[in-house]
Amino acid sequence: MEVVRSRATFAALVSFAAAAAALFAPELAAADLLAPDSPASSSAESARTLYIVMAIIAIVVVLVVLGAIARALRSRVPESAGGPRRIRGDGSPQLRTGLALGALTLILFSIGVAWTADDKGVPYLLSGNEAAAATNEPITIKADAQQWLWRYAYPVDNPAADGFNLDQAYSYHELVVPVDTPINLEITSTDVLHSWSVPALAPTVQAVPGVTSEVSFTADETGTFEGRSTRFSGPGYATMRTRVSVVEPDQYEKFLASRTEGITAARQAVQERVQSGTAPGVKFEQK
């Protein structure tokens, strides 16, 4: 009776899984669902490779454990056939298993450390050591999180021009960076906790008010990469997405120039309207 019932439920499960797989297989295959976005920087690529290693280990562990439990369940003796067998041996197998698991722990730990550290022992992903490998000058960009936007401030091209930081090029929502150039992103927040996550390019970094966190990456292909904030920050949190456009260096220069020009023009226009008294809501006292 029990056997029939469990076989029936097993068959039901299998057919359910098969139907689900048949329904969604094309989408699943197309979307590459078992790993993060395809990487566009070496640091993201190494993290993604380690993810794949760990995912395979985890899947193997799950299968081995559940398989062992299932096998043990099957080896049980019906009570009509004499009930449980005597347990043989206790204590020593546990010690050996514990030692083996301890070795596994240390191996995984070493993998984790080695994967993040370069030959000088400095964590690879957490410092800007990619800069040494790249040929171009590193660029430092400030990323400022606020409810619910990202503001990227690009370095001033010619600091002597004004010294007034409003002339600095900035952009909201979209970060534009040149390809094959080390980017140091200085991330902070003006209000609450946020987190900057563009898995194709770099590890996730939390934006904490009062703390400047740095993350470095070097994009090695052009394209547009989606990112999002992954730290709950209030009602607008779901809309707080971002995008990184990796472009050729000359396009980046053009982008900076156009931003600077546009910002300067906008400032002048505002200034004119304020001075002429046509700006809405702003009135100068006329003497």
Partner: protein
């Protein structure tokens, strides 16, 4: 069958045997551990219903992209209530309630030490939950699962909403502290003669570990909540970065508490599963001592690994490596426990039952959850996936595996001690499959959605991000999960008065709680037996068997019924627990026991 026969009246009547009070009087005044435990379990299941409603609403909102079913503020209220309800208003109190009922019985005590403190812990828990849900009458908290500052400071969320949340959690945490003190004192002082610590049943051992863990981590979060209230109302700057405060401090303290709470839940569930597997294999669990040690090690390591979900935060690399080492080291105790389970099951007796079924479901979910945690425990991967739905899915698998599957396994197992009746099998099977299929669909698709870039806690997702199908399946899974949970709740309610009557020992257990009648009388035991091993009830059975075999004339022994003959497979083969209540009537039969009988 089990010929252990206890009367409901004491054989030796000392003065003034207490009598159970009825109804509301008992509810308010009972300091009896079983009454308080029943109240804990019932209240936890009520809060579970609330958590289910919130989960259902959130998953309906996330069923299709850019859904306009509810405003983000409403979603955030559901989210803020769901996190705490699921973990510290449902899952942990369910386990604490079962511990309240079972532990004194298991260790052969007549009640809890410090019964009034134990009772107070229940009311603190109820008032805490009521404070959180009372705020739904006007405006509940929108500050997220952990109410992290600066978002939860009065600058961003003024008003009483967050205050009610903080106060409610603080009351619940105080309740945990009271419970822990009472439970630790009970386990230390009230054990039966001969019940040494190494002979204590694993669930009682786990109760001690859980109490110690909660006693350490609850005040940590209480401190964080106190700082938050000072910031909100008395001009404090603990978390105000503009004044030199550190927002990360709260996150650390909250993470310590959450790690400890999840570890406690896991320890309780693993211990309950160990006992169930041993009972349903009809033999003592393999490696009792290594399992007990592993449970303790797991609690310590899991608390020390509190930073394993904070790799994205501003931490020095050394701290990240420390957290990684601690998180990876939990492989050792968990692996040992799994190894012992395989040893217990293989070659054991083939018995079926709802507790075993739920225990197996719990193993599946816990293993998947821990595998997810294993992946993100390694620093670069953890940093890559931080704040991703992958982490939520593995946490959900872990908490649902331990709290829901493990909780229901323990509830099915010890339900006879709550009510004197067994939970229904038909409802049980339905709820089990709905829960398992739903949870697996939800967890696996949410993991994939996380890898595709689904962030945690979002109130909506966009159609352009390729998450439609995954979120749809996840929502359907969550709906199945909720449906299964509702069936299980109905089962628990209906069985309380209408379940099949179970005798003192429906599963043929080997620990002392099955020595007492179901439900146990106020004083638990007429006579507490001497404890000589980890399986005192099996010892009693063996002693009776030995006595019986010595008394019987040799002709009868060599005849049709030798001692240790396998019992007639009437109830067991059909997967039904043995109605041991029927056995008591037949106790004039020569008693036989099949415990620890080697097969020739």
């Amino acid at each position: 069958m089990t010929p252990v026969h206890t009367t409901s009246h004491p054989e030796v009547v000392s003065e003034r045997v207490p009598r159970a009070e009825r109804g509301w009087i008992a509810l308010v005044t009972a300091a009896e551990h079983k009454a308080v435990g029943r109240m804990y379990v019932a209240t936890a299941l009520v809060f579970a219903a609330a958590a289910l409603a919130e989960l259902l609403m959130m998953r309906l909102q996330l069923m299709i992209p850019e859904n306009t079913l509810m405003r983000p503020e409403i979603f955030d209220r559901m989210l803020s209530a769901f996190g705490v309800t699921g973990l510290i208003l449902f899952a942990l109190p369910l386990m604490l309630g079962l511990m309240s009922i079972v532990v004194p019985l298991q260790i052969g005590a007549r009640g809890m030490a410090l019964p009034r403190l134990h009772h107070l812990s229940y009311w603190l828990y109820v008032f805490g939950g009521a404070t959180i849900y009372g705020s739904f009458l006007w405006r509940p908290s929108e500050a997220g699962i952990l109410a992290l500052p600066p978002l939860s400071t009065s600058e961003f969320l003024p008003g009483a909403a967050v205050d009610a949340w903080v106060t409610g959690i603080a009351l619940v945490l105080l309740g945990f502290v009271c419970f822990s003190i009472s439970m630790i004192t009970t386990v230390r002082n009230l054990r039966a003669p001969g019940m040494y610590l190494q002979r204590m049943p694993l669930f009682s051992w786990a109760a001690s570990i859980v109490s110690h863990t909660l006693l350490v981590v609850s005040p940590v979060f209480l401190a964080a909540l106190a700082m938050l209230m000072i910031d909100r109302h008395y001009g404090g700057v603990f978390f105000d970065s503009g004044e030199g405060g550190k927002p990360m401090l709260y996150e650390h303290l909250a993470a310590i508490f959450v790690s400890g709470a999840v570890a406690s839940l896991l320890v309780a569930a693993l211990a309950a599963i160990s006992e169930i597997l041993s009972t349903f294999s009809r033999r003592p669990g393999v490696g009792h001592r290594s399992t007990a040690g592993s449970l303790a090690a797991l609690a310590v390591l899991a608390v020390l690994a509190w930073m394993q979900n904070m790799y994205a935060g501003p931490l020095a690399p050394g701290f990240r490596y420390f957290a990684m080492l601690m998180a990876l080291a939990t492989i050792i105790p968990v692996g040992l426990i799994l190894f012992n389970w395989v040893g217990t099951l293989s070659g054991g007796a083939k018995r079926e039952g709802m507790p075993l079924r739920f225990a197996l479901g719990a193993i599946v979910m816990i293993v998947i959850g821990l595998a997810g945690k294993l992946v993100t425990a390694v620093v670069p991967v953890g940093a890559l996936l931080a704040g991703n739905a992958f982490t939520t899915a593995s946490s959900f698998a872990l908490i649902a595996g331990a709290g829901v599957f493990g909780g229901f396994a323990a509830l099915h197992y010890w339900y006879p001690k709550l009510s004197g009746r067994a939970m229904g099998d038909a409802f049980g099977v339905t709820s089990y499959w709905l829960l398992l299929v739903g949870a697996l669909a939800y967890v696996l698709t949410t993991m994939m959605a996380g890898l595709e870039g689904m962030p945690v806690d979002v109130a909506k997702f966009y159609g352009d991000s390729g998450l439609d199908v995954l979120n749809l399946i996840a929502s359907i899974g969550a709906i199945l999960f909720v449906a299964g949970f509702v069936v299980a709740l109905l089962n628990a309610c209906a069985s309380y008065n209408h379940g099949r009557r179970s005798g003192p020992d429906p599963w043929l257990g080997s620990t002392l709680e099955w020595f007492a009648p179901s439900p146990p009388p106020v004083h638990n035991f007429d006579l507490v037996p001497d404890v000589r091993s980890v399986a005192p009830l099996a010892d009693i059975r063996n002693a009776i068997r030995d006595r019986a075999t010595r008394w019987y004339p040799p002709a009868a022994r060599t005849g049709a019924a030798p001692a240790g003959e396998p019992e007639p497979a009437a109830g067991t083969a059909a997967g039904e627990p043995d109605p041991a209540g029927a056995v008591a009537a037949g106790s004039e039969q020569p008693p036989q026991s099949e415990d620890d009988q080697p097969v020739a």
